[in-house]
Amino acid sequence: MSFDPIPSVAAMLVCDQIISEQGTNKKSLIGIFQRVQSPMFPVVIPRFGIYVKLLDVVGTIEFKLRIVKLDDETLLAEMAAPIKDQDPSQPTELAISLQNFQIPQPGKYEFQLYANDVYLHRATIDLVEWDAGGA
């Protein structure tokens, strides 16, 4: 699959929640974060969102989000979302909401965005083991 030009990422953020206002379709990002503390692993993150703002989205593009554990670069999960017939003069927003996502171990995890298998951008979060009983 080919396209012209390559979409360009203006912003990519991880947050607790993405609210899309009915009527205006404006997005509000609540609780932008890059670090999660947990007393135990594996841990389930009940809800979080990934917001991406893109330029130059023309025609039909399959966006792919890959969730990768960085220390050994293993792929935890992958999702694909086809976007069709966008107005190229306007930025495109992806608001991805995930629920009950299980993280196996502490460490850095990355959300990698691809468009038609072309790497575009990444956002990283750090999962930290927190000793609740420690000083």
Binding site: S8, V9, A10, T24, L75, M79, P82, D87, E110, V118
Partner: protein, 155 residues
């Protein structure tokens, strides 16, 4: 020494201030209030349902391919016209990506780290060559390769 300029300022305190409304004028206050129409995205919201495919916990798939298509230029002044094919290799603990046609490479702790550094190198190389007034044959050929993939974004 006499002051060369005088400034006036106003301290704001917590609380609220009522601005003058239509038909009500005060010196220094707005004489009319313009009510903006509703602001919103010009594109309708479209919900797309996508499946999240988990890889098996016991057999995580390696995400270090042998080649990758690069599109992460991350420069608002530039636009990538077509993806750049990168060869991926390991250098001890580090990952190296190389664009064979342009003889340009970068390395990092992870694949995405290496690609981010490659993007930085590509941007500086493009600006350096595009701003040069005289290029030798090798650098002119490199600029020709670059401009097949990278272009300035129209203002």
């Amino acid at each position: 020494m006499a002051p060369i300029a005088e400034a006036t300022y106003q301290n704001f305190v917590p609380g609220s201030l009522r601005l003058a409304g239509s038909g009500e004028t005060r010196p220094g206050a707005w004489s009319a209030i313009c009510e903006l129409p509703g602001q919103g995205s010009r594109q309708p919201a479209r919900a797309v349902t996508a499946d999240l495919r988990f890889t098996g916990q016991d057999a995580f798939a390696a995400s270090r391919p042998e080649t990758v298509l690069f599109g992460g230029l991350n420069d608002p002044r530039l636009r990538l016209l077509k993806p750049i094919p990168l060869k991926v290799s390991r250098e001890g603990e580090r990952t190296r990506v190389s664009w064979v046609e342009a003889d340009t490479a970068a390395s990092g702790e992870t694949l995405t780290c290496a690609m981010e550094r490659f993007g930085t190198r590509l941007r500086s190389l493009f600006y350096e060559l595009a701003d040069s007034h005289s290029l030798d044959a090798d650098r002119a050929r490199l600029l020709e390769v670059l401009t097949r993939h990278v272009a300035l974004r129209p203002a």
